[in-house]
Symmetry: D2
Subunit: 143 residues, 4 copies
């Protein structure tokens, strides 16, 4: 299935008084990584693909994080993100964040494809992922 | 003019490796303080007043912050927020953040009342503040 | 074991363009909830208990979140946090976040008690949790 | 004086329910931009220069932001950062953030060089900026 590598840097404002990344910031990074994977799969930016497929987004219903070694401000990290499963209206993503070649954190996400509920515009409802999107998410990894 | 006091606590995740609040977090706090002032003035929550007055929000066009003494995780702070000027489509807000009675930070905001541009839904445009809102924002402080 | 209830409000700046809370913000909330539980158990603020027990903190090694229904800006939420296991140098925490009485999100954390590694001050290492702290974390819930 | 250009991208999690960047996030970006300028000037990462010059950081005492046009998730922005004044223990920084060549936001900072107060380790105190650092910050812009 599709995978993508996103590179970023841990910054001073991401770190807490222990001098290491505040763990909630990893989820900010994982969310960007998923967006980057989607943008690559669909060949357009998120703002465009939300419109092209007329949906509200791909929010998480569950996530998991494992933190193996801390990272610090200035650390240039690499996040390898892959689609690991793709169902009718939900899909699963995995992230591996490495620093200097060593695995520092892992993320697992279950996301759903949602639209605004026509019966109640304040609510969202899951919707089948368009076949074209499934095809693109489940394609063989691009080198 | 109207004023309001909002109380919050500086948290571990708001602080940086120097052990003090990361200054950008003060702007998160000031934004909440302005919302609290509006909610008090208009007698409803932001999600309701955006709908009631059919507008997109009151984004900032300019802000200023002064940081006099640092605050730390666990510090219970008090933010006194006041409307200091109210024009046709913009208004000015001041925040005084104190900890243990001592002034720690100040914020100044110029905000505009915006609606979605009918000519281009991707754009926002300033709009006169409804007279009723001006009246409520410029009322004498409530004890 | 010990439990605590923390109340907070979802704010405008916590929400994303879909109009609901950006999920990473739940982890900010869960971290505060864990701190609140500890402060209650140990009878002092985090800044004081880090000093009293001479340790660096209780970082996460793993976490899990489940998001059942979205929350929005202005929603007043309640987080019930409990110690569910307490080992030699690690412990487990569970969070239940409810809005208007309905379960909206759940969090699960495995945290370790760490000190600065004397052999390498840039590193942290796990350390047995002081017996007195274990006793306080595993006490019967206080009404 | 010295200047530097930092490029980043506005992300989904940086934006609020109006669909545009939540203004406090600009200050996160400006702080990174200042770090980038310092790292370039001093030829080492922040974690290294804090140690090399044995100081606690360069916190802000005042800042100002002007927001001219909104940016959105997916926008690739460029921040041009320059030292505009350098005093004995404080200095001034300016940021110009552009998107697609148009000025979107400006930031102004007054920062101080601080060390831990030897008389009270819980306090910080301003200290003269080392002559070598002043020389590097006030050098002619590098092409």
């Amino acid at each position: 299935m599709l995978s993508n590598t996103y590179r970023t840097r841990i910054e001073w404002g991401d770190c807490d008084p222990a001098g290491i990344i505040f763990y909630a910031r990893y989820f900010d990074i994982f969310d960007i990584s998923t967006t980057m994977l989607f943008e690559r799969a669909l060949g357009m930016k998120k703002i465009a693909y939300l419109k092209a497929y007329d949906f509200l987004g791909h929010p998480l219903v569950a996530t998991r994080g494992r933190f193996l070694r801390p990272t610090r401000f200035g650390d240039e990290v690499e996040i390898e993100t892959a689609v690991v499963a793709c169902g009718r209206s939900s899909f699963k993503i995995e992230h591996k964040l490495t620093f200097a070649g060593a695995l520092a954190a892992q993320g697992y996400e279950t996301r759903v494809w949602v639209v605004r509920d026509p019966a109640n515009p304040k609510k969202m409802k899951a919707q089948p992922i368009p076949a074209e999107v499934v095809a693109k998410l489940t394609q063989a990894p691009v080198a």
